[in-house]
């Protein structure tokens, strides 16, 4: 069938795809922290350039990358509008009846929107270049110190990877069942909300029955092969931190360090703004 694709993984086989998932995950966490420290336009622009550079290296079409922003458009609009109208400041720009818009409000709205979009973009590159399986493996590896305090890290990772593995299967099954019920004259896109919800019953019941059957079969199959999450398990694909990961890590660290150095020591951006201002 091949038409059910889970998540956003975009296989272009670039060097970013081959990077160690643990490194990518840490880079994303650092990036998110960095974004929260930025307060001025020049740095926003710099980070945008950084994200676009990484996207180009990953051979992900920018169209695909920016499509991920669509999911948060509503959130961005709502937060921006709220900030626009409810921020008090010194410079009043618009005063019309009870509506007061200050310069500070406009700035805050723009910056919040930029921040949210930036927060969406870079993690999207992670999910576009890393398979869900690699991500779970990376999480397991990064959480492994917790084993010392008896956290069942492996079991958690296993649950996650089974859940991830089941999503495309369940999606395909949903697809099949919907087709089968459509063939029996069902229509899922007509009528009001209640009618639409009711139309889903003939899909959901077989889906749940199937999910429980699958879970049962999987548990039996694992038992039959003496699976135990306690034993020290080896991996089919061992993650290795290679030279290219070191370079990538250094590159990211350099960018993030520049942001902090700029903020607390140099204030480059103010110099640039002064030049143009």
């Amino acid at each position: 069938m091949g038409n059910v694709v889970f998540g956003q993984y975009y296989p272009s086989g670039s060097v970013v795809h081959r990077l160690d998932a643990r490194m990518k995950l840490l880079a994303v966490i650092l990036y998110i922290v960095t974004v929260f420290f930025i307060t001025d336009y020049v740095m926003y622009a710099a980070l945008f350039l950084f994200v676009i550079a990484v996207a180009l290296i990953s051979k992900i079409p920018l169209k695909v990358l920016f499509r991920t922003v669509r999911t948060i458009v509503f959130l961005v609009l709502v937060t921006s509008i709220i900030n626009l109208f409810f921020t008090q400041g010194d410079t009043l720009w618009v005063h019309w009846h009870f509506i007061k818009i200050y310069k500070e409000g406009v700035e805050r709205a723009i910056k919040l929107a930029l921040r949210l979009i930036l927060l969406m973009l870079f993690p999207s590159i992670l999910t576009l270049t890393t398979t869900p399986m690699e991500l779970t493996d990376a999480l397991e590896s990064l959480m492994s110190p917790l084993k010392l305090i008896k956290v069942p890290v492996h079991a958690i990772a296993l649950i996650m990877s089974i859940a991830l593995r089941m999503i495309p299967i369940l999606m395909e099954e949903t697809n099949k069942i919907m087709l089968a019920q459509k063939a029996r004259g069902a229509s899922f896109d007509t009528g009001g909300a209640l009618k639409k919800a009711k139309a889903m019953i003939p899909v959901l019941v077989p889906l749940f029955v199937g999910a429980f059957r699958r879970a049962d079969e999987l548990a039996l199959a694992m038992d039959a092969r003496c699976y135990s999450s306690v034993a020290n398990r080896t991996k089919y694909k061992v993650m290795r931190f290679a030279l290219r990961d070191l370079f990538a890590a250094l590159f990211c660290l350099a960018v993030f360090a520049l942001v902090f150095l700029n903020k607390y020591l140099w204030a480059f951006d103010e110099m640039i703004l002064a030049l143009f201002g």
Binding site: N3, E173, K176, L179, A180, A183, R184, G185, P206
Partner: protein, 283 residues
């Protein structure tokens, strides 16, 4: 003409890295009263093809005409189409959902917008037609039936819509030999009583040879051959090119030829084979 397909092509997820061509220019005409078997390797486009007959897949290019319903039109009458073409999917028992067998079977007729009385009559008729006793199973949950019974109930759910064309995707998959025989006998019975035109996807070459009037051999999204079982199963070049198996009868005939026993006819069914061997012994 029952079904007329011209130059049908289909690509899954077009314009993405996952794009995969499933059909490359399929042209096929099925007449009313035909029993057509669709064979071919996994991934040869069989399932994609039959899903077009019911407009479960939107037409991308080419044309599909089913009993005067033209699917190239902007808004074809889908309700009429789905009442005309009955589709039994793979493992149809996995689509059962309602509390009782009778309610589940009535799902299709209800969607067609039939009257209460008409639905009741059709449900009883369909359940009896698939070889179950209405009084015994009607009020039971479909989930407590046996595997074979569940499949019959699922088929009844399609039959109750009284389709003139019945399409089945591997209806015998996962059944034991006896279950297979029963389902095939049921399909034959349905062809004679309610749905005169039957299309069936099958990997069971013996069943194809025994039942089909015509065989459509799919390969890489195309109809490689559309002919009688005799023409298909005695075409060595075609079979090896498309990696298809022969029915047991044809295999035996080939072995006999190697040992110097050459029959006058080319039998594909067991009855034909027995008759041919008898004639060879007498003549």
């Amino acid at each position: 003409m029952s079904i007329e397909i011209k130059d049908l092509s289909y690509v899954y997820s077009p314009g993405t890295p996952y794009a995969a061509a499933a059909l490359n220019g399929v042209t096929l005409t099925v007449n009313e009263g035909d029993f057509v078997a669709i064979i071919g390797k996994t991934g040869s486009g069989k399932s994609t093809f039959i899903q077009h007959l019911n407009a479960l897949i939107r037409l991308q290019s080419g044309s599909v005409k089913v009993c005067d319903i033209d699917l190239t039109e902007k808004k074809p009458d889908l309700k009429k189409l789905r009442g005309t073409v009955g589709m039994v999917m793979q493992y149809p028992e996995y689509q059962l959902f309602d509390e009782t067998v009778a309610k589940d079977v009535s799902y299709g007729p209800k969607n067609l917008g039939l009257s209460e009385g008409e639905i009741k009559g059709r449900v009883r008729e369909a359940i009896e037609l698939v070889g179950l006793s209405y009084d015994e199973v009607a009020d039971r949950s479909p989930f407590e039936l046996s595997g074979g019974q569940k499949r019959r109930v699922a088929i009844a759910g399609v039959i109750a819509m009284k389709p003139r064309i019945l399409v089945l995707d591997e209806p015998t998959a996962g059944l034991d030999p006896r279950g297979k025989k029963e389902i095939l006998a049921l399909v034959k019975k349905l062809k004679e009583t309610s749905s005169p035109t039957v299309l069936i996807i099958s990997h069971d070459m013996d069943a194809v040879a025994e039942n089909a009037d015509k065989v459509a051999l799919f390969s890489e999204g195309k109809v490689e051959a559309f002919a009688s079982p005799r023409e298909i199963f005695y075409d060595d070049g075609l079979l090896s090119r498309t990696e298809m198996d022969r029915p047991a009868v044809v295999k035996v005939v080939k072995e006999m030829e190697k040992r110097g026993v050459v029959l006058a006819e080319r039998p594909v069914t067991r009855a034909e084979f027995i008759a041919a061997v008898k004639r060879w012994r007498n003549g």
